[in-house]
């Protein structure tokens, strides 16, 4: 997709994220809005995966470690044809498979996630299998910056470099806020680049809302032969809705009727400018 098409797509995705969160009266609004541009670029320009090829052992894998931002994943998967978008009307409803975290009951979801610190180890195992089988597929995993204190991430970071998994790309959605407050105040993981570099990773930073930069960065994988790839994506929690941006209360806040109308208006106005 062109950058303009990506921009239009992200606005459509943001509208759907809000629509289905309002419908469910539940969801992780702020984080879904911070990572949606990354998912947009991944699924529309990079991942070698589709509803038809999802069972193929050669498909690229996307594992969403920050599972609570499932609304972003679901609206993208619906758009890619993995299931009917109208299915999302059942989000978080009684007996629905569309629960508040990714589950393999939903076509297109690679792993059941939700507990934090799980995506990277599983992604490492999947990337290691590709190396062992001499397959060309790549494995992407999206982490929140708030989940980085989980020790399992650092265990997996060691294994990834030990086995030279340059087919693995971890992306940190660094929106700098978590439920308690600024991530730097809760448990500071900076300087993140230096930490991962010391662990043997090749690290690149990018504006996680800049389609051109995301395209260019993802096109360069592997950044260095024999090293796992880390992309630190600088993002804004609640991105795209002015009254939600950088506001912790929107971590899992659900818009009321007026707020929803205002948010959609803002997105429509933004679309006119693309």
């Amino acid at each position: 997709m062109t950058e303009r098409e990506l921009a239009q797509k992200s606005i459509a995705y943001r509208k759907n994220i809000l629509k289905y969160i309002v419908g469910a009266n539940a969801g992780h609004t702020g984080g879904s809005l911070s990572c949606i541009d990354i998912l947009n670029v991944l699924y529309n320009n990079f991942l070698n995966v589709s509803p038809e090829t999802f069972a193929s052992p050669d498909r690229d894998r996307y594992i969403q470690s920050k599972g609570h931002c499932v609304e972003a994943l679901f609206v993208v998967l619906a758009d890619k044809g993995f299931f009917a978008e109208s299915d999302l009307e059942t989000l978080c409803k009684y007996k629905s498979h569309y629960i508040g975290h990714p589950t393999r009951k939903v076509h297109g979801v690679e792993q059941n996630t939700g507990a934090l610190g799980h995506g990277l180890p599983v992604a490492v195992g999947t990337a290691l299998a590709a190396k062992m089988d001499k397959k060309a597929y790549r494995v992407f995993t999206l982490l929140g910056d708030g989940e980085l204190p989980e020790g399992s991430n650092w265990e997996a970071a060691l294994t990834a470099s030990h086995y030279k998994l340059d087919n693995l790309c971890a992306i940190v959605d660094k929106n700098t806020l978590q439920i308690t407050g600024p991530t730097a105040d809760v448990c500071n993981t900076d300087p993140l680049d230096k930490k991962f570099e010391t662990f043997g990773w090749s690290v690149t930073e990018v504006d996680g809302h800049d389609f051109k930069a995301l395209n260019e960065t993802l096109a360069k994988i592997p950044f260095e032969t024999g090293k796992p790839n880390l992309i630190i994506a600088h993002t804004v929690k609640g991105k795209g809705i002015s009254f939600m941006e950088n506001q912790i209360k929107w971590h899992h806040g659900v818009p009321n009727k007026d707020q929803y109308i205002d948010a959609v208006d803002e997105l429509n106005n933004a679309l006119a400018l693309v």
Binding site: P57, G125, E155, L158
Partner: protein, 322 residues
């Protein structure tokens, strides 16, 4: 094979040693078999495996959460992953990975808990796994198996490679006698009757089946009491058909396990029996809820009466209540 003692063939091989041998045989014919270890190939008797199949062993280092997560990723990509680690660490430290990345995600990892129960004896509580049945029983979608002897170990290893489901296999370090009849068919979820008698049933698993059988022989020779002895190697799914039959056909039931008395084989059996109307004298033998005594595996088990004499005495006491 070794000497025949009391009609039992004694081998010099532990169950985890046999498991390692079978795994080598399986790996030679199946390149998708991968062993994942956490600096545990020595205690897991996997050094020869690593030497023969260096491309099929993944060393993680001492990081059990990562061990299980990586194994789940390998399994999701088609590998037949056997994640081998001491049972104490595997099922406590990595419990959330077992729950989510293996069982909930339905990634068919074969979790292998080695040196289970009180195999590590004097190393103490940190190294004992007296909780693993309890915590894993509470998790949906995992088969839990504690083989009693080399025969069951071999069968369990072969079967686990065939079926694509999350499985927990639990092995000890002690060389184990072969229980008769060793030609019995083996299925997960089907208890193995190793001795038949009408007076009571002793249901055990893992390394406690042998002392249960010794106790049954003692009861027969010294007291004229005839006991059925069952190796209930699969705790989940539990062989409730056999359990119901034992409740009908025998006068009392004792369960024996190298596990805490809470949440293991005994409570699994008790729960089924009570909820299905079987009212029988019933006793759970295991490690009590206390600071575990120091000693070798044999000393600890003896201390808690998980022995030929201890089980026989418990049976006599239980039968007095009828």
């Amino acid at each position: 094979m070794g000497a025949v003692i009391d009609n039992e063939v004694v081998t010099t091989r532990s169950n985890q040693d046999v498991f390692s041998g079978i795994l080598q045989e399986l790996a030679a014919n199946d390149g998708q078999i991968v062993v994942v270890t956490s600096d545990s190939r020595g205690s897991g008797k996997l050094v020869p495996f690593g030497q023969k199949f260096p491309e099929q062993i993944v060393e993680i280092g001492i990081a059990e959460q990562n061990l299980v997560g990586v194994a789940a990723g390998l399994a999701s990509a088609g590998k037949k992953a056997f994640a081998v680690s001491p049972a104490c660490f595997l099922t406590a430290r990595a419990l959330e990975q077992i729950k989510n990345d293996v069982a909930y995600s339905d990634n068919p990892v074969r979790l292998v808990g080695i040196s289970a129960g009180v195999s590590y004896g004097p190393l103490g509580t940190t190294h004992h796994s007296l909780h693993d049945f309890a915590v894993l029983r509470a998790i949906n979608n995992i088969i839990i198996v504690a083989p009693a002897d080399n025969f069951e170990t071999e069968q369990a290893a072969r079967l686990s490679a065939k079926i694509n489901k999350p499985i927990y296999l639990r092995f000890g370090k002690k060389p184990m006698p072969l229980l008769n009849p060793c030609e019995t068919s083996f299925e997960f979820g089907k208890g193995r009757i190793v001795r038949e008698g009408d007076d009571l049933a002793i249901i055990a698993n893992g390394e406690t089946v042998y002392p249960a059988l010794q106790a049954a022989e003692k009861l027969h020779h010294e007291h004229g009491i005839n006991a059925t002895v069952v190796s209930m190697h699969t705790i989940k799914p539990l062989d409730t058909v056999l359990l119901a039959k034992l409740a009908i056909d025998t006068g009392a039931i004792i369960t024996v396990e190298e596990h805490g008395v809470y949440g293991g084989l005994g409570e699994a059996c008790a729960s089924y029996l009570l909820q299905h109307g079987y009212k029988k004298p019933f006793k759970i033998m295991g490690i009590p809820d206390e600071y575990t005594v120091t000693g070798s595996q044999a000393e600890i088990l003896n201390h808690y009466h998980i022995s030929k004499d201890g089980i026989a005495d418990a049976a006599i006491q239980l039968l007095k209540t009828i």
